[in-house]
């Protein structure tokens, strides 16, 4: 059917009238042609290492799986266990807290930075590069450096506090401070990322709207409130969604800085999945947790799409 759609367009563009027996009709959509082999490597890999594993993971979550050993069906036992498992609820709570705090600060501060730095002056460009730089650095490097920076004995932060006469703070070894500290480092790392995404959105707001509003006598803050924010709403949604999905899967930073401790106070869902699957070898149970995480991600994405009323933006 697309062929018939394409014929008039093609004919109009080239100016040559095409009959039904023309060149386009001689190249119909075919089921099979050798060039389709071009797709084989990608589809083989996606099939074997993404699509098939999703199905497997779903099946595992109803099984008691031992790697290289026997597996047995346990029905919904894994999910029942999970429902009663205080470790799971702890990890879920921490993951949600981590996500809400990170995403809220990142979107708000990232938006302010994008507003301040949207001009193309040299100074703005340099500052933008500096803020963006942590985005491309591995979480292992960042986790390691911040862990040392916050070390009460050798860290620069402790050193500064000492100069100011403030007693040393054990940022990562206190159960009440460890989580906020890791969240802070996560925000520090991703601020430039949020800023870049939002800057792309700001560029898409038509200049005429600002000029029309200015002629109507709008002040700067009114411009932000009535022109900029509605104009970047799709980007705000996209940024919130991407950051939420990424933060729900936070692992590296926690693994490097605290490994879930002290006393599980920073134990996120992926940390728990990793520990259950690869340290405790409860593979089926870990699959059940990962499926719950999957469902949470899908539900939160759907809620955010609805909350931002993405569809009636344009």
């Amino acid at each position: 059917m697309t062929v018939t759609h394409r014929v008039p367009g093609r004919a109009a563009r080239t100016g040559t009238p095409l009959t039904s027996g023309g060149a386009a009709a001689r190249r119909p959509r075919r089921r099979w042609q050798p060039v389709l082999l071009f797709m084989v490597p990608s589809f083989l890999i996606l099939g074997a290492f993404v699509i098939y594993p999703i199905i497997q993971s779903f099946i595992f979550s109803f099984q008691n799986v031992t790697i290289g050993g026997p597996t047995s069906w346990v029905g919904i036992d894994n999910y029942v266990t999970l429902f009663k498992d205080s470790q799971f609820w702890n990890a879920l709570g921490i993951t949600l807290e981590f996500t809400v705090a990170s995403v809220a600060v990142l979107v708000v501060v990232g938006f302010i930075l994008a507003l301040l730095l949207q001009g193309e002056s040299l100074a703005n460009r340099i500052v933008r590069s500096i803020f963006f730089f942590p985005t491309i650095v591995s979480l292992v490097t960042i986790g390691l450096v911040w862990k040392f920076l916050l070390d009460p004995n050798i860290g620069f932060v402790g050193g500064l506090f000492d100069l100011l006469g403030i007693p040393p703070v054990s940022w990562l070894t206190s159960t009440s401070l460890a989580l906020p500290t890791v969240i802070f480092v996560n925000i520090w790392k991703n601020l430039g990322f949020a800023m870049i995404l939002l800057l792309a959105g700001l560029k898409g707001v038509p200049q005429e709207r600002y000029e029309a509003a200015r002629i109507d006598g709008a002040r700067t803050l009114q411009l932000v409130r009535y022109i900029t924010i509605p104009g970047v709403r799709p980007t705000l949604l996209f940024t919130t969604l991407i950051l939420t999905i990424q933060t729900l899967q936070v692992f590296d930073l926690v693994f490097v800085m605290t490994d879930g401790g002290p006393i599980f106070s920073t134990d996120t869902l992926v940390n728990l999945i990793y520990r259950d699957a690869f340290t405790n070898y409860q593979t089926g149970y870990a699959s059940a947790i990962s499926f719950v995480l999957f469902v949470i991600i899908v539900v939160i994405s759907a809620l955010q799409l609805r909350f931002f009323r993405y569809n009636d933006v344009d």
Partner: protein, 291 residues
């Protein structure tokens, strides 16, 4: 741009009070940004300087950003106490080979999805897009078991092959290929060129920006990745830099300068790439939301 120019392009001269207000606002903007810039830079300055400092210096002067005397023991220790050459080589092989394979496979797949009409094409494309929505952790355990049965744990093929295509790459290439006028490859086809020649000699040479974006994004993600190499490799011989630094840092090595030296070296390729090709980093991250 917009609010900035609005503020500085008044229709009539500003009253002194408003001019003072504007100056105050501009300077408070730069004070705010200045603090931000310091906060963004100090950890890296401290990391690099720390890699040249002795343990004694670190303990004695924690408030100092710079070494009192420069020592190279961190950089020497990294080679002596870690299988550092092996970690570095593994990281380069893993990130490099995987990126090259991804570029080839993704662009080939995208060529068909953008250029060859066939029944089921839109289903194939949406299947690719759908895999983007699946969190990596959901597939991690079954993939680990697959690799176990294949005997691919602790091997390069185990590290590389499952990651050798990326749905984001296919998507990005497809969008780019669609923007290349079809008249170009139709002319080539009339001259008798095969699909392979059109792909290799017409489409790819025109797609340098897309290639650069996908290459940089992929290399960066693979180079920085921790969870995947941590799961697929257990023997110290097969670890990549991030996995090695994490595992050895936790257990064997207590000297801070050594770990900071390792972190500095592992940052170097990405930092150099960033200074040379910043616009591709920014374009890649901004269009895909990946980092």
């Amino acid at each position: 741009m917009s609010t900035e120019s609005l503020r500085t392009a008044p229709r009539r001269p500003l009253a002194p009070a408003r001019r003072g207000f504007a100056a105050l606002r501009s300077s408070s903007k730069w004070i705010f940004l200045g603090i931000g810039v310091l906060a963004a830079l100090i950890p890296f300055v401290w990391m690099i300087s720390g890699s040249f400092r002795s343990e004694a210096d670190l303990f004695k002067n924690p408030a100092s950003l710079f070494p009192t005397s420069v020592t190279l023991h961190g950089y020497i220790g990294v080679w002596q106490q870690l299988p550092f050459l092996r970690l570095l080589a593994n990281s380069f092989i893993f990130a490099g080979v995987t990126t090259v394979a991804t570029l080839l496979f993704d662009s080939m797949c995208a060529y068909v999805l953008s250029r060859v009409p066939f029944r089921g094409r839109s289903i194939a494309f949406w299947l690719v897009i759908a895999t983007l929505m699946v969190p990596f952790q959901v597939t991690l355990i079954p993939v680990f078991i697959e690799l176990f049965h294949l005997g691919w744990l602790n091997t390069y093929q185990g590290l590389i092959i499952p990651r050798a295509t990326s749905a984001f790459g296919i998507f990005l290439f497809r969008q780019f290929f669609i923007s290349i006028p079809p008249e170009l490859d139709e002319a080539a086809r009339i001259d008798g060129a095969s699909h392979w020649r059109i792909y290799w000699q017409v489409i790819l040479p025109l797609s340098r920006p897309a290639i650069a974006t996908v290459a940089i994004l992929n290399f960066m993600n693979l180079w920085n990745d921790l969870l995947w190499p941590l799961v697929v490799t257990t023997s110290p011989d097969m670890l990549t830099l991030p996995a090695g630094l994490t595992l050895f840092g936790g257990q064997h090595i207590t000297d801070h300068a050594i770990l900071l030296a390792g972190a500095t070296i592992s940052l170097l390729p990405i930092a150099i790439g960033f200074f040379l090709a910043q616009k591709y980093f920014v374009a890649g991250v901004a269009t895909t939301g990946l980092k």
